[in-house]
Symmetry: C2
Subunit: 195 residues, 2 copies
Amino acid sequence: MKQTGRPRLFDQDKVIEDAMKVFWEKGYEASSTDDLCKATGLGRSSLYNAFGNKHDLYKRTLKKYHEQWMAVQLNILTQPIPVKKRIENLFTWSMDRDFEKNSNGCFLIKASVERSQSDSDVQKWGDVHAKFLEQTLLKIVNEGIESHEIESEKTVNDLVQSLLCSYYGLRTLNATIRNKKVAEQMVQATMTNIA
Amino acid sequence: MKQTGRPRLFDQDKVIEDAMKVFWEKGYEASSTDDLCKATGLGRSSLYNAFGNKHDLYKRTLKKYHEQWMAVQLNILTQPIPVKKRIENLFTWSMDRDFEKNSNGCFLIKASVERSQSDSDVQKWGDVHAKFLEQTLLKIVNEGIESHEIESEKTVNDLVQSLLCSYYGLRTLNATIRNKKVAEQMVQATMTNIA
DNA sequence: TGCTTTTTGTAACAATTAGTACAAAATACT
DNA sequence: AGTATTTTGTACTAATTGTTACAAAAAGCA
């Protein structure tokens, strides 16, 4: 179903991705519409015509981020390798992202800490992302218990909650301490909890 | 040593505290100098005359926050009660702060996630606060091991890193999920790791 | 009483902010 | 070719931003 009217000169997905980088790096408040225009290459008219306003565009970036990384994390956690190794891979993968050049950590964590109190869209996507991770971990920890890969006196719930907590802690500390050696120790320390 | 000149009509400490609330709630970028004037009751002249500029005032609030809560946390962790109970108290105390009305979590965590990448003062105080917590935990976990209160095959370091990670994770998740029941479960799950 | 010093209130500054008005441009359909 | 529809570029808005200028006010000291 082709549209009538002048065709767009830009790729919508690419623009959302470019805008995401701006919000990710600077945060919502510190990102000006001018920054967004420059980063996306769009003029103000095109940006407002296509996305409504700054906050609507922000929402699109949150959704896109969630969908992208949910897929990646799900992939890591469903590989045909031992459960513990998969979990460790999730942690080392996150750590590697956190220590890439110009990394700003996890966009959704940053957005949640900055704004979830005052922005229900941020609240929603932060929540969705955390719940997804929790459910996925629950599934594979159960898998590990059934296959006797994981043997623990703790309940499945305790194991999962503790892992989720460590995951968010690692990513937050990586933004604070910024020391890869320390991060690696934390991953190892976390793994001892599902020994 | 009394100063010459017109005396101040305000209490410096009170002003820093009021300004802290603004930065804490809105973040640095979203806090306008007008917000700061209104919250502190000072005119623009007085504020700039006394604190230089917005960022210098921000620095004062970071320092004050660190010093205040460091004292509280240290007090919790050095009570004459079992080590495990002290650690649990640190977690429940933090959780209670996170679920107070209009809570914005830990100011330093929020500031670090928002700005530590681009603001060396935030970086510094976030780092100092984390290191303080780490060192204090190290001291009392050692204490717990020597008194045989804590018996674990894990190294002291692993225990401490895991606790620190869980602490930051809990506080970050409390900003994201905002569910006290879940938070309580996480504290319990964390405590099973130093069983 | 004057002189110095500091604080205070008012007014202003240039720059930036998010968002809009409007006409020209580019397409599809008739 | 002409019309409808959408996108685009330029210019603009009104409000807000952080910061400063300056004179009046309030104290100590001579």
